[in-house]
Subunit: 151 residues, 2 copies
DNA sequence: TCCTAATTAGGAACTAATCCTATTTACAAC
DNA sequence: GTTGTAAATAGGATTAGTTCCTAATTAGGA
């Protein structure tokens, strides 16, 4: 539980606003799932969220949780972390590098940046542990997708 | 095909060296899989690699490809990009932030950094498309895991 | 209170990745 | 070159995570 009562209240309000605006139902399941995600700072995986949700509402289906998470993400109420464990794309470029990823087509480009490689990490982080590397992931829209959108 | 002939040659040599050093076999399958990964800069997913491998060696099993990729990764010949799309951890922190991830235990911490949020992206990248966000992922070892290793 | 489109539960299906095991093979020792 | 053996393979089975399907339920406006 990392967020303040005020912040939690605020988030709940955003949630209800969005439902009203889109004509979607604020079901008890959705509210509860949202609360579970909003009340932690542990970046949980879906199975952890499902388990926590079921502590209070044991019959909620996995599908409902996944659907709700997708709904929350689509509406900017939560984010998915991307570059954590358990990945699936490979890169034989062994030079230290970073990535630009097109959010439309998913293509990824390598780039090099001395300033990022030598970036002075905030004390806030060095207090958490030893930092071994910094990898930057830039998100945006590639030229090809821009052209396609413009048509 | 992004790498030069020389670089490819060099990588192949590293590969054979590592096999010899570890007493592992340089099978035709391994060599071929390594070549396929080393010869692209498209950050392919495993299924793409499997398909490309099978263009030349149709009977190679998925298991062999996955095992070989893990082997190459363990020995630093390739890197995995963490799931750029389709990830599985969630975060309700909507402030612009970055992550410190412990490579031992997988725990993740949010942190804030104005200098990263306003980082001037290299022209190299702005030529590729429109950049919308920069997310930094720091890898290292958290205090708890350091303590556990020290014992 | 009623109506209806949205939502749900829960099991089936799908997909990516790994495991299992009998067979094959690289390669070191002779 | 032969041989012996541990390592590696193919390919089917299995597992885990996620999404799909459908009949039943429900939120919320009229």
């Amino acid at each position: 539980m990392a967020v303040s009562k005020d912040e939690a209240q605020q988030r709940l309000k955003s949630f209800l606003d969005i439902c009203r605006r889109l004509g979607l139902k604020a079901t008890p399941q959705r509210l509860h799932i949202f609360r579970v995600v909003a009340e932690t700072d542990e970046h949980p995986e879906a199975d952890v969220i499902i388990a926590k949700v079921r502590e209070v509402m044991p019959t909620v289906s996995a599908d409902t949780v996944y659907r709700t998470l997708a709904f929350l993400e689509d509406n900017g109420l939560i984010q998915k972390l991307s570059r954590l464990h358990g990945c699936a794309r490979y890169d034989a470029n062994l030079r230290k590098h970073h990535h630009f990823v097109c959010v439309k087509c998913g293509a990824a480009w390598d780039f090099y940046c001395e300033k990022l490689d030598t970036f002075a990490v905030p004390d806030e982080v060095t207090n958490l542990g030893t930092v071994e590397s910094l990898h930057a992931e830039l998100h945006g829209i590639c030229k090809a997708c821009q052209a396609a959108l413009g048509e």
